[in-house]
Amino acid sequence: MSDTAIPKVEMRNISKSFPGVLANDCVDLKLRKGEVLALLGENGAGKSTLMNVLCGLYRPDRGEIYIDGKYAEIHSPRDAQKYGIGMVHQNFKLVDSMNVLENTILGLRDEPFVPDLKRVRSRLVGLAEQYHLDVDPNASIWQLSVGEQQRVEILKLLYRNAEILILDEPTAVLTPQESHELNRVVHVMKQEGKSAIFITHKMEEVMEFSDRVMVLRKGKVVAETDTSATTPKELARMMVGRDVLFQIEKKPMTPGKVVLELSHIEALGDRGLPALKDVSFQLRAGEILGIAGVAGNGQRELAEVVTGLRRSSKGKMQIEGEDMTNKSPLEIIRRGVAHIPQDRASVGAAGDLSVASNLAMKQYRSRPLATGIFLLQKKIFEFAGRLIEKFKISTPSPKTQVKFLSGGNIQKTILAREIGAARTLMVAVYPSRGLDVGATETVRRQLVSQRDAGLGVLFFSEDLDELLQISDRVAVLFEGKIMGIFDANTVNIDHIGMLMAGMDREAGA
């Protein structure tokens, strides 16, 4: 492919700002036909914003888009569809209560008034075979695993004859094996002459998936190069703007007494189906137990049972040897258990309250922040000020509402509060999800230092590298069952991947 050929997509001089943030600053992007372009950058670098502009969800403040060399007016997702642009968003755009077929034809104007679902099914099945995207067309979305849902998303775009596919961090929710599958699918699409843009912040994926890579930092293009001409290390430096420490210093573990013990715990999920099945493990003081697994295999339910937010239907839970089965969250907090929840915006922090209030949320019951029923505002602000400084939370003031902070700073706020309340056990659910490299480092360091301070840490992560790096032991959760618990220093990452997909090595899968 020569540079003189007309690019399939050309975005020129795109700028887009949100209140207080310039998300894209005069960005140029070229995508050639039959090419896979990786869009690399930290969280908040403006990758998703740029792609949301391309697929018509955001209107740019400035800039133009050309498709096949012709000016394209894209004001809505419908316009983008007409130009053959389709995007698999990070939060899938699927209606949970509808089935695969209904989702496939959603929004398609050329379907007849009464859609012929039989015809839709046969075309969908054809596409599924062609691209090896196996999925049950009659299943409702909520019944499908995250990996299957992603396949539905891709099939949906193929059904719409998308020529330009945008994948927003597609591997974040996949097992290593599923990621390889996805890579193969992308490869087939390339051979059919389709083009793809691939958003990621993982270097390995850039190397594995893409032909060319473009690096964004703080809304600007900082580099653009052929993938074969670069290295992961160089990419990382360009992305962050400095050398990155991939390793975290960790002292050898000095395990103490058992702080958390689950025996044969079972619990139901939100839909009333079993979410945890016969879960048993011990966690000692001074130890990090990592929980591996694809999202939706019982991680949230497990964290909720441990923190008292969900009832267990069977089994026993002990904290420091005392029976705490189905005790209230307050009683569990009083035992010194801290919780960094999965959903930081809605469960972890009260968005409409100030940073100071959020920081004080676990200590407001007693001195020094309160006397009797009265809150001591001055003390609360002093307390908050200390934590803001210590954890480097960047906020205009302690009075700022938390919802106006970035994801990383909300997470630091929660971390600061929870570490203050932690005495025996820290439950951290995806604490670094969606954070940039700097904030991720802070989070990881804090977890390790909690362990060194003699707490037990129950650590959930979707990032296997992170998990193996931080944890002392790793347990794999699949469909609510513990598939095995391993020493993090000696375990084989492929073996973990197999177990995450529910395959046992012995079963010969």
């Binding site: 697929c55 997702p77 699927l94 209606v95 209560s97 509808m98 034809i105 009464v114």
Partner: protein, 316 residues
């Protein structure tokens, strides 16, 4: 036999306005908009229909005016909740407060001078049952023949609404907007337009339900003629699990209890009238709670997932 026939007649007739309004509210709520203005819109529909027919002697015109008024009030609700992003509960309650007060006010102003400008106590043309007199006297079967054209239209509307919602392209789009507006938007569906459209259609049907009260079920205007039926409609929507096919059963249940207590009162029972008047409401609520409870236990709950929330594309 005679008793049964007459109870059945009233049951079906009372169910008509409830069913139309319930289907209207189902369509609205399926788009994610909760319209608590049902009571107010029904009252305005009932008043405007009766006043129009009183002066123009045209039932068709009466229905048309009611539909327009209902559409306008719903348009206001759609504007406040979709464009201005007001709280849907507050906006809906305001419309009910407005409709209740304004219909009562107009009822004392729109009448002829001979009646002190009041509409209460006047008679106008009403929609009469289609069947000839002899047919109405056939036991049981007469109950089905002794109905007006609106009632038959409703029983045509139910399967149509069901088919529309579950089997057609626009129905699929409507459901997607109420379930997941982000997804609908990304798939090229205009969320705001959809919500406006079905809120207005819903308001029109709700007003039509009100018009049936003043033109057929209890012909004439009286203050608060709906007697809280608007709230029963809200309950029936939940009872029906947002499915038009099930709307009619709740409506008939309410109508049935109403008919029985009505007959009991007429027969001079010693049970206090106030207690009997209360029965349809209590009965509906009790059955509703039991049914919903049972449904929720047995499987999924059917409320549109985005019901009551506003949607703006670039919201963070």
């Amino acid at each position: 036999m005679d008793f049964l026939t007459s109870v059945l007649t009233i049951t079906i007739r009372a169910g008509t306005s409830l069913t139309i309004a319930t289907i209207g509210e189902i369509l609205t709520e399926r788009s994610g908009i909760l319209n608590l203005g049902v009571e107010g819109i029904m009252l305005m529909g009932a008043l405007s229909a009766f006043a129009t027919v009183f002066y123009s002697h045209s039932i068709v015109l009466g229905f048309l005016v009611a539909v327009c008024i209902g559409g306008l009030l719903a348009l206001l609700h759609a504007f406040l909740t979709t464009t201005m992003r007001a709280n849907q509960v507050v906006s809906g309650l305001s419309i009910t407060l407005f409709g209740t007060g304004f219909s009562s006010f107009l009822g004392q102003r729109l009448g002829p001078a001979t009646n002190n400008f009041r509409l209460v106590g006047l008679r106008a043309e009403r929609i009469a049952p289609l069947a000839p007199d002899w047919a109405k006297n056939i036991p049981i079967l007469g109950a089905f023949l002794n109905q007006d054209i609106m009632t038959y239209a409703v029983y045509l509307l139910i399967p149509l609404a069901w088919f529309f919602l579950y089997k057609t392209r626009p129905g699929l789009w409507l459901r997607s907007v109420g379930e997941d507006p982000q997804t609908a938007d990304a798939m090229g569906i205009n969320v705001a337009k959809t919500r406006y459209f079905y809120t207005i259609i819903g308001g029109m049907l709700i007003a039509l339900g009100g018009a049936h009260l003043s033109l057929s079920y209890t012909p004439g205007w009286s203050e608060n003629i709906t007697g809280g039926r608007g709230w029963i409609v809200i309950a029936l929507v939940i009872f029906s699990m947002w499915n038009p096919a099930r709307a009619v059963w709740g409506a008939l249940l309410f109508g049935g209890i109403n008919a029985v207590q009505f007959r009991l009162q007429a027969s001079g029972t010693s049970i206090p009238a106030n207690f009997l008047n209360m029965l349809p409401y209590v009965g509906t609520i009790v059955v509703l709670v039991l049914m919903t409870w049972w449904e929720a236990l047995s499987k999924k709950v059917g409320a549109p997932a985005a019901l009551g929330t506003s949607y703006m594309r670039e919201d963070k």
